[in-house]
Every structure is written in C-alpha cells, then in structure tokens.
Amino acid sequence: MNRGRPPNRVLERGFVWLCFFATLLPIVVLALLLGDVVITGVGRLSWDFLTSFPSRNPDEAGIYPAVIGSVLLVALTGAFALPVGIATAIYLEEYGKRGRIANLVEINIANLAGVPSIIYGLLGLEVFVRFLGLGRSLLAGALTLGLLVLPIVIMASREALRTVPLEMREAGLALGATQWRTVRSVVLPMALPGILTGSILSVSRAIGEAAPLVMLGAATAMNFVPDGLLSPFTALPIQIFNWTSRPQAGFAVDAAAGIIVLMLTLLVLNGAAIWLRHRIQRRIFR
C-alpha cells in the first residue's frame, strides 16, 4: 500500500470522472453515429421507399421485398424457435433437473450460445439448403435463424420459470395434479409473461442478422415478394449490406434509410417487450 502517504483526494476525484466519461463515451459515439445516419437517410424515407422494389437507380430503389422478407422470416423463426425453446426450458427446469441428459443439453446450450452466427449459416447451407433440399428458401433461412436464437430463447425461458416459487409447484402436486398438469396450469401461466418478454427480445435478434443469411445465399436483389415457404427471399440487413457495398453515393443514402427502418423496427419490438415486462411485474408481484 502507499505506506505513510494519505490518499490523494484530487487524484481520486479525477479517477471517478475518468471512469464516468469512459462509460459515457461509447454511448455518445453511438448516438452521434446514429444521428449521422438519420440526417443522411431521413430524406429518403417515404411511403414509396417502403413499397418499391430495389432498382439500379438509387433514387427509385425501395425496400419492399426486404421488409416483407424480414417480417416473414422473423414470424417463421419465432414459430420454430419458441415452442422448441420453451419446451427445452420446461424439460430442464421441471423434469430432467439432475439427469445426465439434462447435463449434456446444458453444456450444448452454453457452447452453442458462443458459436459465431456465420457458422450457423454454414450449418443451414449444408443441412437445410442442400441435405433437406429446401434450396435458398425462406424456410431454410427461418430454420437457420431459429437454431441461432434457440439458446437465447432457452436461457430467457429458464430464467422466467425460475421466478415461479417452488411452493406453487408443491401446492399443485399436493392437490393431486400430475406433473404436467402442474406445469401447464400453475407454472406456465405464472412464467408466461416473462417467457414472452425474453422470447420477443431473443427473436428480435434475428431481424438484424445478415451473416448467416448471406451464407445461405439469400437473394441480394429481388423484384418480387416471397410467395411461399420455398420461395427465394431477401431481408432488410441483406438489402442494407448490398447498398452499403456499392460505390455510388446514392446507395449509401438508401442504406442509411434502410438502417432507420431496421432500427425503428427493433425499437418497437424491444419497447413492446419492456412494456410487457413492466405490466406483468405490476400484476404478479404486487
């Protein structure tokens, strides 16, 4: 220790401020960058931009197929990842607690959560696109993104299941309900809001993913809208990627406008999740 020297108060204050600014700076940088995007892109935002197809002329290009693609993709991803993820969470929390299989599943989830998203793209390419013969389709994309968000859905759902007090389960079982009946009628209704919030947050991650979809071979320019599960597709991040990589300045403006749409979508989804959590916390934990 600094033997015999009294602590230097000025240095201390200085360090506290340094830490404070170090916390603030990345946030400020992000805010400035987003501000720059808004200034660049907001002029391009219009109904036409949302409802037009991509074009060689940056002033006429729109994001219609990308928006539709992203919406369908997220809906399908949720339809796949939510049931499987919630069921897995129920198994781990309510059934297989100390079993060998449960242990194996846990190790796998922890591992999969750390796998880079582009690797999921390779998995989807080999398994869904080629082996199962789904082609470069909407369904292949959704299944791939589903696997990608699955670990997050599982972790969020487990968290929610853990908030249900053990006594509630004991009460259900003591009333003669079977285990599944207890889960279905007691545990799930209490945990559902938390599960929903976590799930919305996890699935919204899928909206911003570009790398796995690029690996699957998602279309970079589409002049039609997907008309079925096996139809080719594109998505907002792919469209933004395509525009960002082009040299003409006009496309950078299109990319900025696309980013505004993407960020607003994320904001709405996250807002909904937080609002849901807030409402539910009030209802249950009064």
Binding site: E12, T23, V37, Y91, G96, V115, P116, I119
Partner: protein, 297 residues
C-alpha cells in the same frame, strides 16, 4: 375406475416428458451436426490439398488459377481486427465496469447500464455502415495513407460494439468481491484508489479476464463489420491502414458468389469455418474456465 384413469394419465405424463426431451435434444443434434459437417468437408478438402500447404504456405488465393491455400493471411487479418477491437474495448469496458460497480449512484447506474447494453443490441450490419461510410472518411483526414478499406476503422467500431460485453461481465466480477475486503483495506488506511487497484481488481482478475477472452471470441467471429469495411485482400500484415481479409470476410465472399457444391472453392468455406469454430470454441472454453475459477474463489 380410478385405477384405469391413473394408468392412462401416467402414460400421458411419460409421452409428454418424452416430447419435451425431444425438443431439448435439438441443441445436442445441432452441435453434433456442426461437428459432422466440419469433419466431412474438412476431410474432403485435405484429400485434395495437403495439410502442409494449408499450414505452411503464406498465401491464400484459393480461387486463382495459381491456387495457394495458406490460412495464415486470413488468420492474421482476423487477429489484427480483433486486437484493435480489444484495444478499444478493454480500457472503456474496464473503466465503465469500475464506475458502475464502485462509484455510480444507484440512479445513474439504473440509467447508464441499460443504455450501455444498447450498444450490443445494434445489428452488426449497422456498425459496418458506420465503419465504412462514417468513420473511415473521418480517419482518412487524420491518418495519411489510410486506404478506403482498412483494418483500423472496423476494428475500432467493433471495439465499441463489444464494450458492453466486457462491462457487464467485469462488473459482475467486481460486485462479487466481498465487501469485507474493501472494508479491510479502508481500515488499513488505504484510499479508494488503492483499494480498487490493490484489492478489488486483483481479486476480480480472473472474472475480468474471462470477460476479455469472451470478447476476443466475439471479435474473431464477427462478420458483417469486417466484410463491409476491412476489404477482401488476404495479406500477412500488421499494418492497420491497408485492406486485409478476415476469415469471416472470406466466407462471405464465397457465400455471395456461388461456388458449386463439392468444388474445392465450396470446401474452402468449410475449412475456414472449421478453423474459425476451433478458435472461438477454444476461447469460449478458456473464458468458461476462468469464470469458474473466479466463482470458486
């Protein structure tokens, strides 16, 4: 007939449990599928290209007529951008963790923490746009000789993105340091700074290290930022001003073109992917170990 009903419901219970187990095994199957795919494609690759050419060649030109398959230029690109990102993320992440864990009044903390988390929620494609369209032109005014595509700009942007990862895990580690240790230091006459640097941080060290290693893993696997802003020119260099190519960018490059299934180009995709997987998996495992050692202490 209560007994019969019981038998029926017991069977139902069992089939439900099996169905749940079936869902749970999806994650096992996923890991397994990843490993099998990499094993098969990598094996096929090395029947065509000797391992020595992969490990000892210093050029990566798999799509040229004069094909070279030395992985190191790609690894160098990946490590360069990751190192830049870590150089940015560690000081900011650590200082913000100290601030949130030791200094911040509860009200400030309640606002700052979720706001900082937002950084991790922004899609990487957006950060890629920032790096290429906003940051690179700004840096070019200050740094002479900075190419339009370079390692520096995506490295910095990636650093900003992974700050919250380091902050959140390091703060957990700092908060887990027992209050009694701090009180002991104060009782010995140490000031706040001495307490933080001589007692709290050393105690939390393995937890903090775990967060940094996890951030390294994240940076290695990051794709869109480098694919947009770092270039597609594999080269063995530590110069952050010139275009390079990372492992992930190469994968995107192949993904955008269509390499026919079974071709050597298609297989390089999986060989690079497998190398990437090994690197991130090792980092994750290492981080996990460090975190566990911290918890045991």
């Amino acid at each position: 007939m209560p007994r019969k009903r019981l038998v029926g419901s017991a069977a139902r219970e069992r089939s439900i449990e099996r169905a749940l187990l079936g869902c749970a095994s999806v994650s096992i199957v996923t890991t397994f599928a990843i490993l099998v795919i990499f094993a098969v494609e990598t094996f096929a690759f090395f029947t065509e290209v000797p391992l020595a050419k992969f490990l000892f060649d210093t050029e990566w030109t798999p799509l040229f007529a004069d094909a070279h398959f030395g992985i190191w230029p790609l690894v160098a690109g990946t490590l360069l951008t990751s190192a830049l990102a870590i150089a940015v993320a560690v000081p900011f992440g650590l200082l913000s963790a100290i601030y949130l864990g030791e200094f911040a009044p509860p009200r400030v903390r309640r606002i700052l923490k979720p706001t900082l988390e937002l950084l991790a929620g922004v899609p990487t494609i957006v950060y890629g746009y920032f790096a290429l369209v906003v940051l690179t032109p700004m840096l070019q005014k200050v740094i002479p000789g900075l190419a339009g595509l370079n390692a520096l700009s995506p490295g910095i942007v990636m650093g900003v993105m992974i700050v919250p990862m380091i902050t959140s895990l390091s703060e957990d580690a700092i908060q887990a340091v027992p209050q009694s240790l701090r009180e002991g230091a104060y009782a010995l006459g140490a000031g706040r700074l001495a307490t933080i640097f001589r007692v709290v941080l050393p105690t939390a060290l393995s937890g903090i290290a775990a967060s940094v290693v996890l951030a390294v893993s994240r940076a290695i696997g990051e794709t869109m930022i480098v694919a947009i802003a770092a270039g597609q020119e594999p080269r063995l260099t530590a110069d952050p001003r010139v275009p390079i190519e990372t492992m992930t960018t190469f994968m995107v490059q192949i993904g955008l073109g269509d390499a026919p299934t079974g071709s050597l180009g298609y297989r390089t995709l999986f060989v690079v992917g497998a190398s990437l997987f090994v690197m991130t998996f090792t980092a994750n495992l290492f981080s996990h170990r460090l975190a566990r050692r911290f918890r045991e202490r």
